[in-house]
């Protein structure tokens, strides 16, 4: 097994140097420096500069974006934790040599033109050879970089920096990350860290998982993977990580290459996608099949406790929404627990229920439900021993009070942190604020019944994994 590198100086740097910083707006070398200096290339008022030291290396400029330029890394007298390299591919080996001489803490090679194209393979081998025998970790080449909102570090050429959150996103693709960041900012979705690792010439997904294992700000890991180089290493590390925090993965690029030539049934049936699916399962990784699912499920796993048993309740103020959600649960194998006599008695005795309320699971508390009715329903059901998680649905009626309904869920969750709650405050303009409020307080809200059921399904799966495979 390959050695594991120490990535602390890449992810928590005190000094960063951009080699290949450029004066030219629109270039990668300019974008990276701008992201360090301002947190974002696109206008973003919520962002501030990287608080550590920023150095720029460009032999042909004296100053870019207010940062003094040095002719080479060696001319910087200060210690450099992280070197970000954005020079043309053919110069990269020379710069990497400088990094070794300078004893930088780690490097990110943004530049493309390596093993992803045939002509670049030898160049990538050169870089690996130079770094071989050193302790210096390298992310890339051909990657977008690293973004760590909590450290105000945007060491990438992504358009901007997302909000601080608790999902770590590790992606083999860089361009995917760009769009996700834009979407995440609009949707108030937060990340603890975003890492694009490109060609994985030295640091691969397993090394990154190993570092994330002990990163307290990351509560769940979302992984976008196209290929793994060392399957045994990946499985060993991923299993040890998923014992501690959940990993969700999306596998891109399903090829049947290599199986066509097989002469046996077994050979022909051992497709790439079956192998990855099996490996993920065996190390307790929850697999999804779309980017949207990946992030939705990661959010639920990062913010809510696992569902200890397969038995949940649905509480809704709309009959149809409750039925549709129950259908989805049924399809996914989620069991709806029966309401106990005790629970019905409490609900009846409260005097707050509508005469036509359902008295069964899904618990339809009827369209005119005011916050107090939601409160008694959620509070009663969360204390039921056979109910291990709750999906709360709110449809917007004239008397509905979304903000108060959100506060109730937040409050009840605080007092019952061991049972997961997922919300579906369906709607748009008038329920938006309540959704943000829920999410800011760690209650995932999906505005979609299917997504909510899938999120709950993942929480149940996580509960089962912890009891069985990962125990």
């Amino acid at each position: 097994m390959k050695k594991i590198y120490n990535l602390d100086r890449i992810f928590n740097p005190r000094s960063v140097a951009v080699v290949g910083a450029s004066r030219q707006e629109g270039s990668v070398g300019y974008g990276i420096l701008k992201n360090l200096v301002a947190g974002s290339t696109f206008p973003a008022k919520h962002l501030t500069p990287f608080p550590g030291k920023i150095y720029a290396v460009n032999p042909n400029a004296s100053e870019i974006l207010g940062i003094k330029c040095y002719p080479s890394l060696k001319d910087i007298s200060d210690k450099i934790d992280l070197a970000i390299i954005a020079v043309p591919a053919k110069i990269v080996p020379t710069v990497v040599k400088d990094c070794v001489d300078k004893k930088v803490g780690g490097l990110i090679i943004i530049s493309a033109g390596f093993a992803e194209v045939k002509e670049g393979r030898a160049l990538q081998e050169d870089v690996v050879r130079i770094l071989k025998g050193t302790e210096i970790p390298m992310i890339g080449p051909n990657c977008l970089g690293v973004i760590r909102p909590s450290a105000k570090l945007n060491a990438s050429f992504a358009p901007s920096m997302p909000l601080k959150g608790n999902v770590a996103f590790v992606s083999q693709s860089g361009a995917l990350v760009d769009s996700i960041i834009d979407w995440a900012i609009e949707d108030h979705y937060g990340f603890s860290i975003v890492i694009s690792y490109g060609n994985k010439a030295i640091i691969d997904s397993a090394d990154l998982l190993d570092w994330l294992k002990n990163d307290v700000s990351s509560k769940a890991i979302a992984l976008y993977i196209e290929s793994i180089s060392n399957g045994q290493k990946f499985m060993k590390i991923a299993k040890s990580v998923s014992k501690i925090k959940p990993i969700v993965a999306l596998k891109g690029g399903v090829t049947s290459e290599g199986t066509k030539a097989a002469s046996s049934h077994t050979g022909a049936l051992s497709t790439d996608s079956r192998l990855y699916e099996a490996a993920f399962k065996q190390c307790g990784i929850i697999q999804t099949d779309s980017i949207e699912d990946l992030l939705d499920i990661a959010e639920a796993l990062a913010n809510q406790p696992p569902c200890k048993e397969n038995g949940i309740a649905i509480i809704t103020n709309g009959g149809g929404a409750g039925v549709l959600c129950a259908d989805k649960c049924e399809q996914l194998g989620i069991k709806l627990s029966e309401l106990s006599e005790r629970a019905i008695k409490i609900l009846e005795a409260s005097g707050k229920m509508h005469p036509a309320y359902s008295r069964r699971n899904p618990l339809d508390i009827v369209g005119d439900a005011l916050p107090e009715r939601y409160e008694i329903a959620i509070r009663t059901l969360i204390q039921e021993p056979d109910i291990y998680g709750i999906i709360v649905i709110q449809t917007l009626q004239t008397m509905t009070n979304p903000i108060e309904d959100a506060k109730i869920v937040i409050n009840i969750h605080k007092n019952n942190p061991d049972k997961p709650i997922i919300c579906v405050y369906m709607g748009g303009k008038y329920s938006k604020e309540s959704r943000y409020l829920l999410e800011q307080n760690g209650i995932p809200d999906y505005n979609d019944l299917t997504k909510a059921a899938r999120a709950m399904h993942a929480l149940i799966k996580r509960g089962q994994l912890l009891k069985n495979r990962l125990a």
Partner: protein
């Protein structure tokens, strides 16, 4: 160069891991054939054993339901004639005589993958694997829980667990899969291995046919 193990080598390998095979004998002439018939009892199956004839059923190199010595001798001659005609240069180890077995057809196998190592595959045989690719896979070694999880993943799991009063010895199948996993974990030069079919019935689970492709190094 990769090569296929002969019948005797395959048989020995399964034996090493205590993977039960249907009673079989390799015969090289009619005298041995007659002896094998009386030893194994009818009905019997007969198939060619040759590293050069891999897809045996495709070339009628498997004959089933042999019920007498005369019948056996006739089929033996036909089989060799057929092989000589279709594969004039085939190296022939002999002919395998095997007790007929009944039960649910299962397929299992191993496949070396350069990323993950050895994978074990398992599913219902016949049409389920041919048309529906109803198989499940894991990286070896696997545990008993993995096997049950694998069985639960099959679309045809209801058939395996027994419908219409049919019962299969699942425990025997579980044990066999664990042994195959162990074999795959230890025998590093296996490239591909098919155990197809395996018959599982009320009493036991037995391998009926094996095909093992190994890499350069000898076992």
């Amino acid at each position: 160069m990769n090569r296929y193990l002969s019948f005797s080598e395959s048989y020995a390998l399964l034996k090493k891991y205590d993977i039960p095979l249907i009673d079989s004998l390799l015969v090289k002439n009619e005298k041995e054939l007659a002896k094998a018939c009386s030893k194994l009892r009818f009905p019997l199956a007969m198939k060619i054993s040759s590293p050069d004839v891999i897809h045996k059923t495709d070339v009628n190199a498997v004959i089933l339901n042999i019920n007498s010595v005369a019948n056996a001798k006739r089929e033996y001659k036909n089989l060799l004639k057929n092989i000589n005609k279709n594969y004039p240069r085939a190296r022939i180890d002999g002919v395998v005589i095997q007790k007929m077995s009944t039960g649910l057809e299962i397929i299992a196998g191993l496949k070396k993958d350069e990323v993950f190592g050895m994978a074990i595959i398992f599913g219902l045989g016949g049409i389920f694997v041919e048309a529906l690719e109803d198989v499940t896979l894991r990286i070896v070694p696997i545990t008993k829980n993995d096997v049950y999880e694998m069985m639960d993943e099959l679309k045809a799991k209801k058939i395996l667990f027994g419908i219409r009063g049919k019962k299969y010895n699942i425990q025997a199948l579980v044990n066999m899969l664990l042994k195959i996993s162990k074999l795959g974990d230890k025998e590093k030069n296996i490239v591909e291995m098919d155990l197809n079919p395996i018959f599982v019935n009320e009493k036991n689970a037995l391998v009926a046919d094996i095909r093992i492709l190994v890499g350069e190094k000898n076992l």
